[in-house]
């Protein structure tokens, strides 16, 4: 495929209005033709059920007797978000609110350096202030209570998990991919080793890790004793349970990111590396100037997928700790699942899912927005 000659043989085209129209219709036909099969199945088996699920959020509907449904408008949402005797205080959750307001700094800097338009900066700033200075000050006051205390608790745990797991699993994925990005039999074996946990189903994973982390019966406990420490009961510790689950999730899913990064690394033009080596660039310089920019698309892909996956974490937590101890690891999907399948409250579960869905959309939109600016 000799590119230069093909280019110079390009047929001249006379652009006319008719031509342009025909071309655009042709493009539309081609485009829709290619996405047609996918869209058909997607609309029927994904979009339609999702729309129904969204609709269910406005009903009180019983899982066991689905014909038993009453329209209740926004009551499910009211129940989720609100409580009795709500009042606004300056001090409520102030650490988180200060942290959130610190995000105004990058927004300001973005505006100053013209990466963000004025409109966008205003939108982001206003949103940040409304959420962190305003909304997060709300909490039940004296004698009051949340309608559903588990809702915000589980959402908070979910956000915590996302914040903890994303940098760790994405970063590790990149490091391992770079390390494993060379041909060879042995590297192939190593690749399989690091990816292997991903083939396990969640039930096997949790079985292995619940036993590993068990102070009495597990390898980690034995190891700690071996080096003279007391075995720790990770899964019954309110502070260590979540990190333990992050580690287990890392072990399980980093292979996914490794594979994506490996595929991404293939698309980086090798001649750029050669040029950099000739220039005498160090490893770090090569990474910064060739690898990292070349992985821009892949990183966006990996991060979006990782955040979405982390928001939807469920299986590991449910099986290993069932949300304990003392609700320290209860995540949103667990609450949704229990509402639907244990409490039979399908409408409420749907409403909560809609909320989680919207949160993920916001995160994803922001990610897409900020990655485009990195040209």
């Amino acid at each position: 495929m000799s590119q230069k000659t093909i280019f110079s043989e390009r047929r001249p085209e006379v652009p006319t209005a008719g031509n342009r129209f025909a071309k655009s219709v042709k493009k539309d036909l081609a485009g829709w033709g290619f996405i047609g099969p996918f869209m058909l199945i997607y609309l029927v088996f994904l979009v339609w059920p999702i729309l129904q699920a969204i609709g269910l959020g406005f009903f009180k509907i019983d899982l066991l007797v689905i014909t038993d449904r009453t329209f209740i408008g926004l009551q499910n949402y009211f129940r989720m978000f609100w409580g009795e005797n709500m009042e606004w205080t300056l001090g409520n959750m102030w650490e988180w609110r200060i942290a959130g307001l610190l995000l105004l700094i990058p927004v300001f800097r973005g505006w100053r350096s013209k990466t963000l338009s004025t409109l966008e900066s205003v939108v982001y700033s206003v949103s940040l202030v409304v959420i962190f200075a305003g909304v997060m000050g709300l909490a039940p006051g004296e004698g009051g209570r949340w309608n559903d205390s588990l809702f915000w608790l589980s959402f908070g745990n979910t956000v915590l998990f996302v914040l903890l797991s994303t940098p760790v699993i994405v970063g590790m994925g990149l490091l391992l991919a770079m390390a494993l990005n060379r041909p060879g039999r042995w590297t192939g074996v190593l690749r399989t080793v690091f990816f292997a946990p991903y083939v396990l189903s969640v039930s096997v994973l949790t079985l292995i890790w619940a036993f590993l982390l068990n102070p009495q019966l597990g390898l980690i406990g034995t190891f700690l004793e071996f080096i003279g420490l007391e075995p720790i009961s990770f899964l019954t510790s309110p502070t260590l349970a979540m990190p333990a689950i992050v580690i287990a999730t890392l072990w399980w899913t980093v292979g996914f990111n490794v594979v994506l990064y490996l595929a991404g690394l293939q698309d980086i033009d090798k001649s750029l590396y050669e040029a950099a080596e000739i220039d005498g660039a160090s490893f770090w310089q090569r990474f910064r100037d060739v690898t990292w920019p070349g992985l821009r698309r892949t990183t966006l892909l990996v991060m979006v997928l990782q955040i979405i996956a982390s928001f939807q974490i469920f299986g590991q937590v449910f099986i290993m700790t069932r949300g304990g101890p003392n609700g320290a690891t209860r995540v949103s999907i667990q609450h949704i699942y229990e509402s639907a399948f244990r409490d039979f409250n399908l409408g409420y579960a749907s409403a909560m899912s809609v909320f989680l869905f919207l949160v993920m959309i916001v995160f994803s939109v922001l990610q897409f927005r900020f990655s485009r600016d990195e040209t």
């Binding site: 066991l64 068990n214 009495q216 019954t236 304990g324 003392n326 409490d343 039979f344």
Partner: protein, 456 residues
Amino acid sequence: MLKTKKQMVQLLAVGAVSALILSGCAAAEEDTSTDSGDTSSDSSGDTASNEEVTIELARFFGDCDDTTEGVTDVNEATTECEVIQILTNAFNAEDNGYTVEKLGGQAWGDYYTQLGTTFSGGNPPDVAVMHQHRLPDYVGRGLLTPVTAPLNAIGVDWSDYTAPALGAATYEGEQYGVPFDIHGSLWHVNVDIYEEAGLVDAAGEPIMPNSPDELLEQCQAVQDATGKQYFAHDWFEFGIGARLFLGLVWQQGGDITEDGVANPDSPEGAEALSLLNQLANDCSNPEQGYTDSDASFKAGDVAVLHNGTWIVDEYDRVSDFEYRAMDIPNLYGNFGSWGDSHMWVMPTDSSRSAAEEEASLAFMAYLYENVGNWAIGTGHIAPRESIIESADYSNAVQRDNYAGTAAYARMVPAVPGWAGAWDALSEELNATWVAGKDQAQALADAESRMNDALAD
């Protein structure tokens, strides 16, 4: 490039052909095992039981067809799964024209998810197993068929059931299920350790404490004499701690609900929780879950294990120390011990034919007749007086030692929405001994969360 493309085309071709062949196979197989027993639809409307009728059975307990294929002698069973499977095989082998086809076989964690969706889809099984504590949710929604009269007509004697068992099956005066067993809390005792601590009587039988003080004294005695852990149970995995809490509240004459409203935050509750925390911190290891406490007991490191009736036979077989399964001790004067029941129910299904209903009832009656085999084969308590009094049962492993539980086991309150309330209670209680949550706060939170769950 060409190689990949060619390979892909070949793959597609093979795929398409295989798909056609295999979907044909699958379809053919499906036809011979459809649900709702289409093979039995008879246009004449004749309900004679000589017709070939197939009914669907949904149950947990696992799948053990590989060891029970063709086996119909229940004495060969060694596990819960084998008992029920062999019984089913025997029923199918009988010349009554009925065939029971097993659905699922899931472990009970997933069972109710699956069962729930079958109700959603309007296609529930013909006979299903159900815990007593789940019954109110289904009965309350009219999803189960009352079976009092129909079963009575084919030989089920409801009066033969023990009080706890009958109570479990009854809802507003009607019976909705056939109790298969009562299973409940037991104290599994390592008699050797008790002996070493001087806690056995003249006959060598372990002495059970009669008050909280005696309990803690025994704890001290065991630790002083043997250095071993006095007490163990699953402190956080399966809600076993909450069962003991419930038992202790009952023993004090209290309860955790009143007229459908939860009230664990009571003097009795506070006392029970306080005792449990003391037990956890001074006499036990609150970091142990089900598997570790079980392992510790089997290894002979624990004097008393609070667990259930389902592993009596196993402990008896496996322990290399002197073992007794005993009623949980009465520490406050009244007998109070958590219990539950496995029951066979018949979901309502308007598309079920008369012949299928007859077959389902016949199977349920058959299971009623075989509760003895179930109880003897598994360690669960038989729910029928006549069985309890029978020689086979009394001679079965350890049964005499927990005859009290058989008579006095108490079920959780039969209110809809109980599953959520129980989870909330469990979590709050666990928080006190695992995470050091303030006990008064835990009880208050438990009460409000339980009532939220029950109110739905």
